[in-house]
């Protein structure tokens, strides 16, 4: 009689898709904050270097599934994106119900949620304006210039002759963004983060 193979327990994976370096830094800090408050599970942050649409998410989930040595199960998939892309009319709003249904069907995703950074992740960073101005060594009464959060951030970094690039500026902007008070940002963005925190079981 052949011995039955022991069923390997699938690895439970939580993924947050973010659309650029700036978003990645903010969410790394946010997860660190959760950890410092008792959250222990592993979370993978995937930077799609552009709007994390269904095609991008499918590509990355497929890569994880195929490259993993053990079976995987996508417990939670979170899609974080800036809404300015719709304001500027260069992208059609996805049919999120369809996206969720497709991901659940194709990858057996258990929980799916979206985080809308309105209108961009830079608006979140500006929730701790004081911290940002201190990090940039700018006077605390510095006036913000520009229509959108991204414009305002660019103008602030320009004052220090630094190019602010949300998609590919990790090395340049991280030293400054690291000094932001993430608790302050979380407090201001509780509504947007509600879905994520519920899925992760965050109770601070």
């Amino acid at each position: 009689m052949t011995k039955k193979k022991a069923k390997i327990k699938p690895e439970c994976i939580k993924v947050i898709f973010v659309e650029g370096d700036a978003d990645e830094i903010v969410f790394e800090k946010l997860i660190d904050y959760y950890r410092s408050n008792g959250f222990k599970k592993q979370i993978k942050i995937i930077n799609t270097h552009g709007f994390p649409d269904e095609k991008e998410m499918r590509k990355h989930l497929e890569t994880i599934r195929r490259c993993s040595k053990t079976p995987v199960m996508f417990d939670t998939v979170v899609c974080e994106y800036d809404t300015d892309v719709f304001v500027k009319n260069s992208k059609q709003k996805p049919d999120w119900k369809m996206v969720e249904a497709n991901l659940k069907r194709l990858f057996e995703v258990i929980h799916f949620c979206r985080i809308q950074a309105n209108t961009s992740i830079e608006d979140w960073m500006l929730d701790d304006l004081e911290g940002l101005l201190k990090a940039l060594c700018l006077p605390l009464n510095t006036q913000l210039k520009g229509q959108y959060g991204q414009d305002k951030m660019k103008a602030l970094f320009r004052r220090k002759n630094i190019m602010y690039d949300r998609y590919k500026g990790r090395e340049k902007i991280k030293p400054f963004l690291d000094k932001l008070d993430v608790a302050k940002i979380r407090e201001a963005r509780k509504k947007e983060l509600k879905g994520l925190e519920k899925l992760l079981g965050i109770d601070i």
Partner: protein, 431 residues
Amino acid sequence: MVSLNKITIKGFRNIDVFSINLENITSLLAPNNYGKSNALAAITFGFQFVKGLPKTKLMLMGNQSCISINKGIAGKPFVFEEEGTIDENTDFIYGFSFDWKRNRNNYKEKNSDGCILTEYLKIKNRNGEKPKYTTLINRTAGNKVKYKPSQTGRCDKDLLIESNELALNKLYNYDDLFYHHYLEAIKSIRVRGVDTLSDPEENFAPRLMLDDNGKQTLMLGSDLARYLYDLKQKDKDAYEFLISATTNLIPTIETIDPVAINKLDLEIDKDAPFELPDQYDVVVKEKYNNQQTRFQYLSTGSMKLLNLLTKVIKAQKDGVQLLLVEELENSIHPRLLQSLLSTIGDLLGETKLLFTSHSPNLAKYLSAPQLYVGLPSEKGYVDFRTLKTTKVSHALKIAAAGEMSLGEYLFDLMLDMECDPELISEFFTKS
């Protein structure tokens, strides 16, 4: 600062009509051999004509490389119109046309050969009670030019002018004309081209060559290196921002330093009034190298990026209104294009950029008004058009269904589209 908002051109190479509204960044997308370069050349030609002396104008009117030889538009006059704003409250429309100088005897002779046909300048003050355009210059039949001599007068005063002379240039000499500053502003508009196709090394590094005796000799050709050197001395903020932008796009580069070198060791008299300038070079330090190297050791793509970004900041600092770039994506990998566009946007300031491309990877980062696609034409004309504003949301939906961005969809549509006038007029603005 004067700002250009719209340019219209007719009768140049394979251009029947080419009209473009200029955003901060605007693109012309088309396949090879369509006429993208012709569109940029036509713009440069138009502004060159405005600035040129009468003698130059005559030469330009006979420039055979610019005259259309397309069967459908051969012999049509060159028409140029620019629209823009002079200051916060003043809009202008300036235009002219001329007949090309023909050189075939059997061609039906025209008296207007090599002559300016029409010219007009209209100004609108947006702060006025009923803002409307006032005509300041009106040329309707060759040498018959009328102009407005005073605030209260009409545009009916005759101006004596040669057939190869623009009234704009002649009236500019009338210092006391109440709209002299408008003429000055329009004459001062600067359009500059950036060549991304040639070897960028030529723009930066002085080359060491071996002379007949086997001795190293320094060759000239380091304008951008000199510019960077001067920028570092005179405007440190702009220089640091440029370097930050460049090293952000190429993170393996740690430092970029323009240096003055003088390897020629020229003898100079003590009482010589002038000294030949030093030679300049650019040296870079790459993360994984144990020493600085000359700029020319960088990859072609990196050299092109620094070349491009330096020229963008130079255009901005020189007050250039419109920068023309051929094939912006040339030598640059697709993932970098989004950041490149954003970086250029930050460096441009008030300068506007018009570039040509045949890359869907670049098109996908542009919004509807920034995308002019080359539509098929049965007669081989250039026909660049943008989406109708009422069709943007429709096109976005189709693009999303195909998991594409608007730019990618328009790019595909452009390539797949048959010459179907109904479909074209359904989706696109009139040319």
